[in-house]
Amino acid sequence: MKELKKAYYIARKDLKAYYFKPPLVSWGLMLPFVFILAFYLRNPQGIADLSPGLVGLTLLFSTTSMAAIVISFEKRIDALERLLMAPIHLRTILLGKGLGAAAFGFGMGLFTLVVVFFLFSLHAYHLFSLLISLLLSCFAFAFMGILISVGVREVFEAMTLSNFFRLPMVFLSGVFFPVTSMPWILQIVGFALPLTYSVDALRQSLLGHKGLLPHWVDILILLGSCIFLFEIATVIFRKRTQEM
């Protein structure tokens, strides 16, 4: 409980110090809206179908934008030492960092949902499943960002690496066209990406469409992704702290 409280304080500090800054907010929202606008101009009729993808992309970009650089950035300004010297377990530090990113992503996701509901006159098909899907997607993307952040030494490496993963995800995760319509080799890549399950879960809970997988399977895979990414990040972080 003590450790959870400390994770919460770390997250709250990160939100205050880094997240609610104009560049981060605009970057988290702008890119998904630009993508959707491009597709809307091409095919205005099918735009409502893209709304789960729009929400998924917003979650992905808003959570990872800072999560992917937060550790390397704090290492660079020596502030990470503050946390490492404090009586906190390494896992708590990463949990706190992930929690901050996920909370920011969740807020941005909710904002996007409101916009989507208003623009496309939609309502949530299954609100509880929608919120669970949103929450797990945020944590999965946040820990993906944290994994990138602990895996690199410099901020610019983190930015390059996060785009290396994020940009292909935009096109291979069923945001704009179904994963099953892609060549088999790209389907394998698509099914390895957490955004695929996020978009699939959102599509089912938001629009009530039939998904690639049952909704509960998407949820379990997202949950598994959270645990897997967090554990890998912890192992790398533990190793890296001894090299500092």
Partner: protein, 327 residues
């Protein structure tokens, strides 16, 4: 190993590649004392502090801080100490009071005391009028003060200070030294590293001299001076000055060691005072003028030079400052 040490270190070793940064350190720090780790840059001072506060794992050896094993019980050990690293690394985006409250949260201070302790520390460190100012806008001296305040927010009984005055101007350094002296009055045990000999002499109850990862000697500043009291010191100000002059002077009988101190040269030897005429004659034949000459009682600096062979000038050189990013 002495008993009742609030910090006890046994056989600490750390190697980075080919470099043995710390080599079999053994020492103990008594409760309530200011204990100084004195050595040139690269001697292993920061590595030792990083191992003691759990930032680095030693290759061998163990340490106990306030009775907690730093390897087996790192969280409890960390809870009981405050650490001021070499760089003032609080959060630039947060205000002075928010930084202190954040530290109180991380160290498990009860919620109702966060604000009260933060305000109290800001008052103690004369920063109350800047309580809502962002850390990134503070001067170097103010940043240093707030970093020390942040390390005291959970009222630790031991404070680790890594090079506390490096990079500060004379006034800033003087103010900080008085803060450290006040901590002693509050019975806080202070473990500080420094490469400023005068600072160690002014502040420390005991000093460990560390060179190339090994402790050469541990004693009080007076005890260290006592060890070289048989040595006579002569300080001359020659013109012109060249590095080859040291070697030339060491060729004179009775001169055991020489070192530069700014634009002067200090000569050490058991009876160097008796050789003043000979030294002056030798320098005159070389065409070197003497602007001033004086005999001296050995200082801690002289004791340090005599015991370690490290040039006093090398000790004065500051470490290159790290380039900071945002905040």
């Amino acid at each position: 190993m002495e008993d009742k040490g609030v910090i006890q270190v046994q056989g600490f070793c750390k190697r980075f590649g080919e470099i043995q940064a710390v080599d079999n350190l053994e020492f103990s720090v008594r409760e309530g004392e200011i204990f100084g780790f004195l050595g040139p840059n690269g001697a292993g001072k920061t590595t030792t502090i990083r191992m003691l506060v759990g930032l680095l794992k030693p290759d061998a050896g163990s340490a106990w801080v306030n009775g907690y094993d730093t390897l087996k019980d790192p969280v409890r050990a960390k809870e009981s100490v405050g650490v001021v690293p070499e760089s003032s690394n609080l959060y630039g985006e947060l205000s002075a009071v928010d930084n202190l409250i954040y530290m109180a949260q991380l160290y498990g201070v009860p919620k109702k005391e966060w604000k009260e302790r933060a305000e109290e520390l800001l008052k103690d460190f004369s920063l109350l009028d800047r309580r809502d100012g962002k850390f990134q806008g503070f001067s170097r001296g103010m940043k240093r003060k707030l970093t020390i305040a942040a390390a005291l927010v959970h009222r630790p009984r031991i404070l680790f200070l890594d090079e506390p005055t490096t990079g500060l101007d004379v006034m800033g350094a003087r103010g900080l030294r008085s803060v450290i002296k006040k901590l002693k009055e509050k019975r806080v045990t202070v473990f500080l590293t420094t490469h400023y000999i005068q600072e160690a002499e002014e502040l420390c109850d005991r000093v460990a001299i560390i060179v190339k990862g090994k402790i050469r000697v541990i004693d009080t500043p007076e005890g260290l001076k006592e060890k070289v009291k048989e040595t006579e010191v002569l300080e001359i100000q020659p013109r012109p000055v060249s590095p080859s002059l040291l070697q030339f002077l060491e060729g004179i009988p009775d001169v055991e060691k020489t070192t530069f101190v700014e634009d002067k040269i200090r000569l050490y030897g058991a009876s160097v005072h008796n050789s003043i005429c000979q030294i002056l004659n030798r320098l005159e034949t070389k065409g070197i003028k003497i602007l001033s000459i004086r005999t001296m009682v050995p200082t801690l600096e002289d004791a340090f030079v005599k015991m370690t062979g490290v040039d006093a000038e090398a000790m004065r050189a500051d470490k290159p400052m790290k380039m900071g990013g945002m905040g």
